[in-house]
Amino acid sequence: MSRVQVKHESKWYPLEPEESVLDGLLRQGVAVPNSCRAGACQSCLMRATSGDVPDAARVGLKDTLRTQGYFLACICKPVAGTRLEVSGADALRVPARIDSVASLSSSVLRVRLSTTAPLDYRAGQYVSLLREDGLARSYSLASLPREGLLELHVRRIPGGQMSGWLSEHARAGDAVSVQGPAGSCFYVPGRFEQPLLLAGTGTGLAPLYGIVRDALESGHTGPIWLFHGARTPEGLYLSEALRELASRHSGFNYRPSVLTGGSRDVAEGALDVLIRAECPKPAGFRAFLCGDSDLVLSLRKKLFLSGLSLKDLHADVFLPSTPRAEASGAR
């Protein structure tokens, strides 16, 4: 009998060959929060209290979490014969309340949250937002720690469970919880003269908005370029705030762009073409890229090929949730 067995809340669950811990537990009726199923969002975090978890199930986790036995259940396929005892990540969750939900544009919500205790994070990191029933999705933080409230920018996705709930039903005072922070897309003070390049589409602006303000407040002196792309002008938001910020900091360049419907203030064209035109030689820059995966991954490759060092390339891909083929429930 060389199946993998997982013990959760004093009951053993066998896994099928090649099945992940997450899939096996969900299949047998155990509720585990999850979203991307690809090791990117960290909402399926679990803790192993005994038994071995492959290293691959810990990629991207902070050392403090690793040493406590945490792993990502969606990419955890223990070797045959393993007996693993696991628990959920409730200990890492911070109770929070919705403070406000407002529109930043027709398609983007600004969601502010207050936590019972201050969350220790860097602007640009992301958290998992958990609804009371366990629905989990990841969102980047647009706020700065000193601001107290956590700010998320949430794109309305047609039929989206979390974004739909936030835009239609969530009310100030509703209880949620937050897990995290995670991610390494944030500003680290130092090398103050180094040029910074920030680029993202849609709500990929959220972490960039935090990072750019963090860099400016930290005293960054090198030029900062922020490219925000959208399909149409309606997809841009916070433009006024960013223009105002640019007028106060001469080194900060804000470049909104759209694929169609450009104007005097908004460039028209593909984001990578605009970046190349404005920053033809980005070697030596530090870059932050956030948003949909196709854009982020292709920009990252282009910037690497044009001379940016991998250690200066910080990217967060907003992977969407992927439902299990046979699942149809809320999680």
Partner: protein
């Protein structure tokens, strides 16, 4: 052990880990921008791939590496199915040569590294 300990590996002579970290970026950039071979890297995770390139460079320069012939076979089998052949292998070796030369590695050391890399041909091409 004694002979190996007395004679420094190319890895150490070049400058060890920091030199490898510099070399891998230059090398990987060349490999990715070569259209003869870049399509083999279309859908890979860049960071993980760079880590593999580094392990490969470390191995061919005689540094501390866990890379083995078996890993090389398993790691390239799917690429061989997609048509990986001597032309591609030669292209990678060529980039390895120019990378080391650009970084100022002495000619005899470059020759040693290329000889070791050439020895991996059978494993990489699963022959």
């Amino acid at each position: 052990m004694s002979t190996a300990a007395q004679q420094k590996s190319v890895y150490e002579q070049i400058g060890g880990e920091p030199a490898m970290a510099a070399a891998v970026e230059v090398f990987y950039r060349k490999v990715l921008s070569d259209e003869r071979i870049s399509h083999f890297f279309e859908d890979v995770d860049m960071e993980r791939q760079a880590a593999k390139q580094k392990a490969f460079l470390t191995m061919v320069t005689g540094g501390p590496s866990s890379y083995s012939g078996k890993d090389m076979r398993a790691g390239h089998a799917h690429l061989v199915k997609r048509g990986l052949n001597d032309v591609h292998f030669d292209a990678v070796v060529e980039h390895l040569r120019s990378t080391l030369e650009e970084l100022g590695v002495a000619a005899p050391l470059v020759a040693q590294v290329l000889a070791i890399a050439g020895g991996a041909r059978a494993d990489v091409l699963n022959r």
